[in-house]
């Protein structure tokens, strides 16, 4: 029972971690919270569904295309809604992000209706279940965990070992100095939004397959919880977002199965508030010092 719930928690946590990475990377570079990220996640899921349903693609073709489409959408979003107000204060950016969020949520509603869409009718993925003692694992769950861990490792490699990763870290450290050092910071910001959106799209597809459901309002609860996960881990920190995502998934799954299912979402937020009271900058976050 406990082991089973842990595995379920890790599966859900993987999707939170993937979405949280988008929040944390954007925050790390621009110091803004992209409140529309949950809706990017939702749109990614719908793009994948659209490719399979109307273009008849098999899932292994549809998913990369959906990821690319979502990345492009993320880049356009930054160009239109965030770039013109980059120097404005964080509240202005937040309202703009809420505007984007409202726009995307209702765009999905107009395009696909407010109902729930099943993935299984179109993906062609058959579910097979493996049993070990009293633990049940499905092929979808295994794929979910493996893919999310692989993507996180890939991201870690990109950020730490490649040239563009160095540029990203420099930009997040100090955007002005990075610019003076000849880094094209606008390109780095676009790249960050692209990567974050693509990761959110993958999370959207995985969630869509795992729960076999996607609907326009799905971005709201996942977006909120992933944002909470990013803050829990220490917003701006990439390993923090991964850790926060998994903690969030495990806590809410265990809480829902052992205490009360109705309060599922409350556990995630309660743990967040408790952690923040004792560690105001999150688990792996750096404390910012006020300079006088």
């Amino acid at each position: 029972m406990f082991l089973q719930q842990m595995i379920n928690g890790i599966t859900v946590g993987g999707s939170y971690a993937l979405i949280a990475l988008g929040y944390t990377m954007v925050y790390g570079i621009l110091r803004i919270v992209n409140f529309a990220h949950g809706d990017v996640f939702m749109m990614g899921s719908f793009f994948g569904l659209f490719c399979m349903q109307f273009l008849g693609m098999p899932y292994y073709v549809a998913f990369p295309i959906a990821a690319i489409a979502t990345a492009i959408m993320g880049i356009i979003m930054e160009r239109v809604a965030y770039r013109p107000i980059r120097t404005a204060d964080s509240l202005t950016v937040m309202i703009s992000a809420l505007g984007v969020s409202t726009f995307l949520g209702n765009l999905a509603m107009v395009l696909w209706g407010s109902g729930t869409h099943a993935f299984s009718n179109f993906s062609g993925i058959t579910v097979s279940v493996y049993r070990f003692d009293n633990v049940v694992l499905s092929n979808i769950q295994i794929g979910f965990i493996v893919l999310s861990v692989l993507l996180m490792l890939a991201l870690y490699f990109v950020v730490n070992k490649t040239k563009i990763g160095i540029a990203m870290r420099a930009t997040s450290h100090n955007i002005k100095t990075a610019k003076l050092m000849g880094i094209n910071t606008d390109r780095i910001i676009s790249f960050t939004f692209g990567i974050g959106s693509a990761l959110a799209c993958v999370a959207g597809l995985l969630v869509g397959i795992y729960y076999d459901a996607v609907y326009p309002l799905i971005g709201y609860s996942y977006g909120l919880k992933a944002f909470a996960a990013a803050v829990l881990g220490g917003i701006g920190s990439i390993p923090g977002a991964m850790l926060g995502g998994f903690i969030m998934g495990i806590v809410e799954t265990l809480g829902a199965s052992y205490i009360s299912a109705g309060y599922r979402d409350a556990f995630a937020f309660a743990i967040l508030i408790i952690v923040l009271i004792f560690r105001p900058a999150g688990i792996l976050g750096k404390k910012e010092i006020d300079k006088v």
């Binding site: 013109p84 309202i95 409202t102 107009v110 009360s260 967040l272 923040l276």
Partner: protein, 331 residues
Amino acid sequence: MNRKIQQFVFEHKKMVIPIAALLLLGLPFFVTNSYFLHILIMVCIYICLALSLNLVTGYAGQLVLGHAAFYGIGAYAGALLMLKLQVNFFVALLLSAAITGLFGFLLGMPALRLRGDYLAIVTLGFGEIVRLVFVNWKGLTRGPAGLPGIPSPQIFGFTISGRTEFYYLALILALFTIFFMVKLINSGVGMAMQTVKNDEIAAEAIGIQPRKYKIMAFVISSAFAGMIGCFFASYLSYISPTAFVYNTSMTILTMAVLGGLGSIMGSILGASILVIVPEMLRFLNDYRMLIFGALMVFMMIFKPEGFWGAGKRRRNIYKINSEVPDHGSNS
């Protein structure tokens, strides 16, 4: 354009205010359609909510993303007091403000340790937890089914029941909130709050305790939200958790920001526009919120200080108080 209107209002205060008051009082004589009256009542409710959020976010600088939770606590507290304990509406109004203020005090505690985005997420989490309690504590709140049959306000044997009567009550509450906020902002306490917002360390250096004023802002802000929540419960006579979701918090915040943070007139305008415009866009059906979202983005790009922002207001005060005409001091 905007600036000229603002200046006109400032210069002709003595004339503008009585005219506005007469218009507001006489409105039900022209507007007899109950749908329009309902919208006017909602405008009054949202003016109180936007103003109370503006106090804590615009004046004391603490970003709150869960304001609907206070609104909801007030509504549920008021409804339960009236339903289960048969308390008179006006007593319930005060009690629910007090109860909500207590919750505001609780949420203010982490605000002493956290700042910026971290505080924002804590308030957001608080809002979600409160909503989940409304949904799940079925013994008290009846969960998603909601609480029906909340009694109408009674005063000296007279029952307030029609839309017109509710409009006057809403107007009184809104005017009281406006009056209170104006007095508070211009008092020493209000000045101290704004100092804390502008620079906490400097505030501490001149002997203002940030923790005291932050907590105060939280308590007053939540008490007003709770008060209007109680009115809302009595007005609709039915409440359910769906009215107090994250979206409501965001709507209130949008009103305060689009109107102009740190400006009383801004919150009033923001609330009026954000209640009325979506109603006017109803003919667009499904595209309504789509367009609304795009408008929000454009507003932030082209007019980030809001309709009646603090930046503009400050400029106006200079112009009126000083005899020297300013030549292009538009900084």
